[in-house]
């Protein structure tokens, strides 16, 4: 047989394909980004234009809507591959299911959740976030959004074989997002009130690390179950 395939180049190939699909016609990334922009800009209409109120709720609104936008896009993370049969191919690839989950989560983060973090400062202007909050808002989203993709991957893989599994996935994932949300918003609030955001960011990073360990293993196990 030919030489041992290079696992890293297989990984890169899968990440690139998933990113291309996410940004192609009907991909999830534009949907998530559009949802994020529109949902956040609804809040000034809903709660009224008082700058103080908007400034107070800005970190929470941006984090909560980013989280919901992430869940909206996770619906098809594994389901599309499951339905068209390419999950069989992925399983037979040299990556193994943990590698497949890792590549797909990385592609999801790069193509869908990272743009949310990049768009967040523009929306923070709309919500009158105090100047001190901007660097920490971006930092907290950069540190925390990988956890959103990773935890979401667990829900997406558990519901992969369930038709109309989107609602079930919402119910599974959203409670697990609470720690990420608390530490993320806590960091921005701390920066706005001129106290130290570092402990919050450290706890947020810890959440992401735990999600990395648990998320990939749990997703691989759930996918294996779904393959039966």
């Amino acid at each position: 047989m030919s030489a041992q395939p290079s696992v890293s180049s297989v990984f890169v190939a899968l990440v690139r394909r998933d990113m291309a699909l996410a940004w192609s016609q009907g991909g999830a990334s534009l949907l998530a980004l559009g949802f994020f922009l529109i949902a956040v800009s609804l809040f000034p209409f809903g709660v009224g234009p008082e700058p103080q109120i908007l400034a107070r709720i800005a970190p929470g609104v941006i984090w909560v809507v980013a989280l919901l936008a992430c869940v909206v896009s996770l619906d098809r993370l594994y389901q599309a591959d499951y339905e068209d049969g390419s999950l069989d191919d992925l399983t037979l690839s040299p990556l193994g299911l943990v590698g497949v989950a890792g590549a797909k989560v990385l592609a999801h983060w790069l193509s869908t959740t990272l743009p949310l973090a990049i768009a967040a400062p523009a929306l923070a202007v709309l919500l009158n976030l105090p100047d001190a909050g901007y660097p920490v808002l971006v930092a907290s989203l950069l540190i925390g959004t990988p956890a959103l993709s990773l935890i979401g991957s667990i829900g997406a893989s558990l519901t992969v074989a369930v038709r109309r599994g989107g609602v079930l996935m919402f119910l599974l994932i959203l409670p697990l997002y609470v720690p990420t949300l608390i530490f993320g918003v806590g960091a921005v609030d701390a920066a706005v009130t001129m106290s130290d955001p570092l402990p919050h960011l450290a706890l947020l990073a810890a959440t992401t690390l735990v999600a990395t360990v648990v998320g990939l293993a749990a997703s691989a196990a759930a996918l294996k179950l779904a393959m039966e």
Binding site: S9, V10, Q25, G26, D89, T91, L92, S93, E228
Partner: protein
Amino acid sequence: MIDANLIFDSETRLTGSALGCRRGGRRVFDGLDFEVQAGDFLSLVGKNGSGKSTFLRMIAGFVPKVAGEVIYNQGGKTAAALASEDITLVGHQNGLKPGMSLRNNATFYYRLMTGGVPAPERLQIAADIFALGSLLDEPVQYFSSGQRHRSALMRFPFVARQIWLMDEPTVGLDADNRAALAALIQHHMACGGIVIAATHDPMWVQGNVLNMDQFQPAHGTETDDEGWL
């Protein structure tokens, strides 16, 4: 054909004894024995629901077995499962992304399985086997179901692997493409490959036949002892 000098390990042998499999609480088959070695063609026949697809997915390692054992010998080594690097499986779903062209689909498949980039000539030759050469740059969403099925079958010659698992490979194929498939299988067997195909149609290839109907669990023992879970 595509790899002129390719010869697989002639010692490869796959033996299963007393295999049992369960899906959704129902015993699909029981006491199944089989043996294939390099250069063999095994066709699985049997009624709908007799476990042909399940058997293929069990060999591929997707479905766990509940009884019996599989022994796999290759290169002087013995293992309890097939290495996924030796298998190509094409099932009922074709695993193609509709928005991507056949070329991109096939290139991705090649990179996924080998980590390398296929030479354009290799892609062209593989596509020409099933008369898909002129469709390479078309998006798959405009393909007919027969064309999609042929695109899926293209994986077999495209990535060199010893064991081919085919689930209903002849469905939707016209006479010319059936002949091309038979020639492809014969070439693979001549190279020392192994082909296991579940089919309702005659395949025009000489080989062993495994009738799945004889491994059906006796009526009345189908229910699961461990309860409805």
